[in-house]
């Protein structure tokens, strides 16, 4: 910008005047551009950069039973990985991460299959735009109530004397109630899938909606069967949506503590749960250190995923 204004050193008075006004105009335009970007930048700073920086700072502070001491220490991080060098027996942190990763993988797989199927149906089998919108609204209906309520409503359904067990016993299919329905890995994954599938549906549908229908015809013309078209045309072109949906689901599951708590009967460990427990014990620096480690882990997963699919190119 400045390069354009500066070389115009004027030979005559009039030219010099016009140059000055030009520079002034450009400066004004630049100020205006900053002003336009300011509100978003401010929001970003206050709600993202500052909290993150604070978390990072606090994670290096010390603490005792009743106060936080602003003195630099790496003890919090040492505590996180305590005993992890012992290869024979996995430490608490590694076991917690493995448990969370297991939920993450199971939830991701289920939401991907369900989300892809639903998105495919809405994008390719529902002809009218109005109907597509209506079906989308139906998908969002569960979001009209809060997360916790949606989770808790599983309890009367899955409990030992819940609807499912009662029905199965009433039908004579089982003699004793199935114990593993509630407060188990199964119920946690079920709730996760219930809560997060819509985050998979929307981006995948968005990708699919942009697939030119003539490509499907071209595949048919080339002798492809339905499955061949799905695998060779639809899936590759829906990849950006799959990647975005996966990022949503993985970050949500990795950081969750409510679902694992409620649906796991407070018996199943998760990384989020660890942080929450430490926070309620006012061990804020320890919680912050755990949060930073979790952030690093999630970011690594996302980087790995963007390595597989160049998102910026696809968008």
């Amino acid at each position: 910008m400045t390069d354009i204004a500066l070389p115009a050193i004027a030979n005559t008075a009039t030219e010099s005047a016009s140059t000055t006004s030009l520079t002034a105009k450009m400066r004004r335009r630049r100020v205006l551009a900053y002003l336009q970007a300011a509100p978003m930048a401010l929001v970003f700073l206050v709600f993202f950069v500052v909290p993150l920086a604070l978390t990072l700072i606090v994670s290096f502070w010390s603490y005792n039973e009743y106060e936080i001491i602003p003195a630099f220490t790496v003890q919090n991080y040492i505590d996180v990985f305590e005993g992890c060098l012992n290869t024979a027996d996995a430490c608490t942190t590694v076991r917690t991460y493995l448990s969370t990763l297991k939920f993450c993988a199971l939830t991701w797989a289920c939401t991907l299959v369900i989300g892809f199927t639903v998105a495919y149906f809405v994008a390719f089998h529902v002809r009218s735009k109005t109907m597509q919108m209506a079906l989308f609204l139906v998908c969002t209906i569960p979001f009209w109530t809060s997360n916790v309520i949606r989770m808790i409503s599983w309890i009367p359904l899955l409990g030992r004397n819940g609807l499912v067990n009662d029905t199965l016993m009433g039908l004579g299919l089982i003699r004793a109630p199935i114990e593993g329905l509630l407060y188990s890995d199964f119920s946690v994954v079920l709730a996760f899938v219930h809560l997060n599938t819509v985050f998979m549906i929307v981006p995948i549908f968005n990708s699919m909606a942009r697939i030119d229908r003539s490509l499907i015809e071209a595949a048919y013309d080339s002798g492809a069967t339905g499955w061949q078209t799905l695998w060779n045309v639809v899936v590759p072109l829906a990849k950006p949506g799959i990647a975005i949906g996966s990022i949503f689901v993985i970050t949500l599951v990795m950081g969750d503590f409510v679902t694992v708590g409620v649906m796991g009967g407070q018996q199943i460990a998760s990384v989020g749960k660890v942080i929450q427990v430490q926070m309620s014990a006012l061990q804020l620096p320890a919680a912050a250190a755990n949060a930073v480690v979790l952030l690093g882990a999630v970011m690594l997963m996302i980087v790995a995923m963007t390595r597989l699919i160049d998102l910026r190119k696809e968008l």
Binding site: E217, A218, A219, D221, S222, G223, A224, T225, N232
Partner: protein, 330 residues
């Protein structure tokens, strides 16, 4: 292979898109389906290719009626208007796609695809993605993809309409060359009469779901069957005679002034367009049909015009060669 349409009909609800048409295209012919948008030409093409169900009648390709057969079973291949190249595959894999679907081994299908790209002079860009190609290049790849399985009939849906005028003429020549080289039947949908004239062995002029005329281009131009055909292919004046019948006269066979002959009518010059080798002069004449939006046109050799220039608003006698008048059907 011969392509025959027998009373072919397509209905969408109560609308009839294609209204019981009969057509026979002999093997190895270049056939153009010509007509304005909405005349049913693309629907007809899609029914031949198996991309649209048939409401009534039959499509016969070679010895048998194809019914609900898939495009591959019919031996047809379609080149789509937007080319429909797979954006995630490079040129070679696009061309090899149908071979892959048939389970041809990788090395073999790649070799075949490259050979086909070579035929359309695109082998040097085999690794490029469609987005990295120009419109003309994409079209060549689409052509190679359609031809790679050795179809008996190639269906082209307005293949040249997305290209700029220069490229269009070049690709036109190339299509004709390929068709002659491969000796397969081409059925080409277009709304450009110029394209149809330049390419086809048989022109099928369609309107409102029906065939107005199906004949060699010269026959269509010399003897248009209906007023619609004469108007659509252009270069004709439709003149209403005193006995209420209509004749079509080629614009280059109109005569002016002293040459106009005994049946000449007084006509007023409403437009003069210089076209290089010729001059197009528009006339309004009472009683013979050239009025308002569709004036009569006379195409005059540029040298002859320079000898007797005309001014707008001038009235001159306008006539035509009697043997050039062709009586029109309903």
């Amino acid at each position: 292979m011969d392509v025959e349409l027998i009373c072919l009909t397509k209905r969408y609800g109560n609308t009839v898109a294609v209204d019981g048409i009969d057509l026979k295209v002999r093997s190895g012919a270049y056939c153009c389906l010509l007509g304005p948008s909405g005349c049913g030409k693309t629907t007809t093409l899609r029914m031949i290719g198996g991309h649209e169900t048939v409401s009534g009648g039959d499509v016969v390709i070679g010895p048998r009626a194809v019914g609900d057969a898939t495009p591959a079973e019919r031996g047809t291949a379609m080149m789509f208007q937007s080319y429909a190249l797979f954006p995630h595959l490079n040129c070679r894999d696009n061309v090899a796609f149908s071979l892959k679907m048939r389970g041809v081994a990788k090395a073999e299908r790649r070799a075949k695809a490259l050979a086909m790209l070579d035929l359309v002079q695109m082998a040097h860009l085999a690794e490029r993605l469609p987005a990295q190609l120009s419109g003309g290049q994409q079209q060549r790849v689409a052509l190679a993809r359609a031809l790679v399985t050795g179809p008996k009939v190639l269906l082209l849906d307005e293949p040249l309409s997305a290209l700029d005028p220069f490229l269009r003429v070049r690709m036109r020549t190339e299509l004709k060359r390929l068709q002659a080289e491969l000796g397969i039947t081409f059925i080409h949908v277009t709304h450009s009469q110029e394209e149809a004239m330049a390419l086809s062995d048989i022109v099928v002029v369609m309107n409102g779901g029906r065939i107005e005329q199906a004949a060699a281009p010269r026959d269509v131009f010399e003897r248009p069957a209906t007023a619609f055909v004469a108007r659509f292919i252009g270069g004709h004046n439709i003149i209403r005679l005193p006995d209420a019948t209509e004749v079509a006269v080629r614009a280059d066979r109109m005569r002016l002034g002293p040459d106009a002959g005994p049946e000449a009518v007084p006509a007023r010059v409403v437009s003069v367009e210089y076209q290089g080798t010729s001059v197009h002069v528009g006339f309004e004449a009472d009683g013979v049909g050239g009025t308002g939006a569709t004036p009569l046109t006379a195409v005059i050799d540029d040298a002859a015009y320079a000898g007797h220039p005309l001014a707008l608003g001038q009235t001159v006698p306008l006539g035509w060669d009697a043997d050039a008048a062709h009586r029109l059907g309903a």
